[in-house]
């Protein structure tokens, strides 16, 4: 479901594209207005030494004055010199924990004599505002949209939750050490797919937010919030912020010809090398905002008169993921790493029409041994350029 801009009878809502400025002191008025419009708010908050997503009851729940420092296998929170509300990058959670929960009941079957009936799961479609969605995450949500509601089969739970989201994006004012959204063409600027987009501006005593309206429902929650119209200086500052972030990416990934490069190097010796380091712990797939693989299980009550079917996140790094009656197809860790990376960066194009990677860097940061997929792509590219032969016996 690539969502087009919301259109009224006469074209886009007149407020779409409108830019205003919200003072820091009035930020809580924005939260109050969102809540008054009927949304619960979820967003970034500090928990267990990381910035994760959770309920936001007051602006003090936000990571005020915190930032994060990220490198391969490393994530640390640090205090900022200022009181920025959004002065950090993405943490271990992504919005998929709301749209595609890690465990979800699909239905309950009730036995009735020789037959049974199915109770569909009631849709959890409480209107929810996602506060602080970064550009890479907007892109990730749209990628999962294509998986769950963009094909012939529509996932009803995902669709119900997705249609009730008020998406409040934030343009990153700094890049993290493992970020490479510029390479993937997903950020750091948010161009569409949002209801409101915020850009935080802190200069001396000035602390305010440029607010851009992306949809009619975005415009609605701004009614009654004290704003002043943005002037040319405000817009120039926003553009400069995004430009500065784009120039300070911690990583790059050369996308040029990547589909044919990776699918043409299934026997590259690098798969064996990275497989020696990879623990198959599944962290990368859990932290990835687009990884959608899941498994299902049936849970009967004691007399099996009632059976629930649940789905839960699964990972291509698990041995059982590819199990057939003859055993698993991908018995080795190199074959599983190859499956993950070639899927993410290459065969995703064949399956869903885009890359499965948005350049958020989570898989690099949260890998316990610091495997960096941008470095893996470079290694394979360099092997290809050197015409390096495959490892003896191939990979897998």
């Amino acid at each position: 479901m690539d969502r087009p801009a919301l259109q009224g009878p006469g074209g886009p809502h007149p407020d779409v594209g409108r830019r205003s400025v919200l003072g820091r002191a009035d930020f809580s008025r924005l939260l109050a207005s969102i809540r008054t419009a009927g949304y619960r708010i979820v967003g970034p908050t500090v928990r267990d030494g990381a910035i994760v997503y959770g309920p936001i009851e007051a602006e003090s729940d936000l990571p005020v004055g915190w930032t994060d420092r990220q490198e391969a296998g490393t994530y640390r929170l640090e205090r900022r010199a200022d009181g920025a509300l959004f002065g950090y990058n993405v943490g271990p959670h992504s919005w998929k924990k709301y749209l595609f929960p890690s465990r979800e009941r699909l239905f309950t079957a009730h036995r009735k004599g020789a037959s049974f009936s199915i109770d569909a799961e009631p849709a959890d479609d409480a209107p929810t505002a996602y506060l602080g969605v970064r550009a890479c995450e907007v892109a990730a949500i749209r990628i999962q949209d294509r998986v769950f509601v963009g094909g012939a089969a529509v996932d009803p739970g995902y669709a119900a939750r997705r249609r009730r989201v008020l998406l409040i994006a934030v343009q990153c004012a700094q890049a993290g050490g493992t970020c490479f959204c510029v390479s993937m063409g997903t950020g750091p600027g948010v161009t569409d797919g949002f209801d409101l987009a915020l850009t935080e501006r802190i200069e001396g005593d000035r602390h305010e937010f440029l607010v851009e309206v992306g949809s009619e429902r975005g415009a609605q929650v701004l009614v009654g919030v004290p704003l002043r119209p943005a002037d040319a200086d405000d817009v120039a500052a926003m553009v400069a912020t995004v430009d500065r972030t784009a120039r300070s990416m911690g990583r790059t990934l050369d996308q040029n010809g990547i589909h044919d490069l990776l699918l043409g190097r299934l026997d590259d010796p690098e798969w064996e090398k990275v497989g020696e380091r990879c623990l198959a712990c599944t962290n990368c797939t859990m932290a990835c905002p687009t990884c959608f693989c899941h498994s299902t299980e049936e849970v009967p009550n004691l007399d099996a008169s009632q059976v629930e079917r649940w789905r839960r996140w699964d990972s291509c790094f698990n041995l059982g993921f590819s199990e057939l009656h003859t055993g698993s197809v991908r018995t080795t860790i190199p074959s599983r790493y190859r499956q993950w990376m070639t899927h993410k960066l290459a065969s995703w194009f064949d399956q869903f029409g885009s890359s499965g990677c948005v350049g958020c860097g989570r898989c690099i940061t949260w890998c316990p041994v610091g495997i960096d997929l941008t470095a893996e792509v470079r290694a394979i590219r360099s092997n290809a350029a050197a015409g390096r032969p495959p490892a003896a016996g191939g990979s897998g």
Binding site: L106, A114, S115, E298, D314, C316, L324, T342
Partner: protein
């Protein structure tokens, strides 16, 4: 909540859950081999089963014991019954293969893309099956035999490890009496009581009766068997784009969303399970893909 504008598409009702199964009742069970049984199912909630194309599969479950992807093995023209042949592999298939008449089975589907039967019109047809690979080919055989005049020669080669591993044994006996098709049955190993052929299916291909450049081949069995059979067919002049294979991978959803059934660029439940050998042949040569 009333202040929320509706998203694009308005307040249209959400689609029916695609993952909800329908109840079926087991009306007959035949033990094919020591670990494989064929179930005949009747729908309990409807008069007829949903139409299917040969080569498609269902997700089948003895509720509470887990779900498995099982190809449909019955006659597509017999809409009142659904036939599945199930080999015991894990807990879900163990429960299904043991299901007795009267048991309730949950079924959803059909899913996937079946055999491109129309490509065989006016051409010789070779059907090669290994072991339980005959199960997804049987609906195709029913269609081919029903419309026998639309095709050229029909050559079927079926192999199994031992005589005890052959499925649809009685039906094989009757098919072998036909004069409008040749059914060759071979096993890898047999005792003295077997007086049929012994040897790999690939060894039957050089002498099979078909005109290679004017033939279409449908294959299902172990991947290694399909690879070597395809090579033998190509050696007989069968064009690579006329060789079709049905592949097997772990499946959880059947609708292209769970990610389990990937083979390179393909989601087998959505893009397969039947695919062209020209496309997947190179992928079958990569270990652990």
């Amino acid at each position: 909540m009333s202040t929320l504008p509706e998203p694009p598409g308005g307040a249209a009702a959400l689609p029916e859950p695609p993952l909800a199964p329908s109840p079926y009742s087991v009306v007959a069970r035949t033990a094919d081999t020591v670990d494989t049984a064929t179930l005949v199912l009747r729908p309990l909630a409807t008069d007829a089963c949903p139409p299917f194309r040969p080569g498609q599969f269902n997700m089948v479950s003895l509720l509470g014991r887990g779900e498995a992807a099982i190809s449909i093995s019955g006659d597509p023209d017999r809409r009142g019954e659904l036939v599945h042949t199930i080999r015991t592999a894990g807990l879900a298939t163990q429960a299904l293969a043991a299901a007795a008449p009267g048991a309730t089975v949950a079924v959803r589907g059909p899913y996937g893309i079946g055999w491109p039967i129309e490509r065989a019109r006016g051409k010789d047809v070779i059907v090669i099956a290994g072991g339980l690979g005959l199960a997804p080919l049987r609906p195709l055989l029913y269609e081919l035999l029903r419309h026998r005049d639309r095709f050229g020669r029909l050559e079927v080669i079926y192999g199994a490890r031992t005589p005890g591993d052959l499925v649809y044994y009685a039906e094989l006996q009757s098919w072998r009496t036909r004069t409008d098709a040749r059914f060759q049955v071979t096993v890898d190993a047999a005792g003295r009581e077997w007086y049929g052929d012994v040897g790999l299916v690939t060894l039957r291909i050089p002498d099979a009766r078909f005109d290679g450049p004017n033939a279409v081949a449908y294959l299902c069995g172990p991947e290694i068997m399909m690879r070597f059979a395809a090579e033998a067919l190509e050696a007989r002049g069968v064009r690579r784009e006329e060789i079709w294979v049905s592949l097997e991978r772990n499946m959880k959803c059947g609708i292209g969303q769970c990610g389990h059934c990937q083979l390179g660029p393909y989601l087998l439940c959505r893009d397969g399970p039947v695919l062209g050998y020209r496309e997947v042949g190179p992928l079958l040569r990569v270990r652990g893909l």
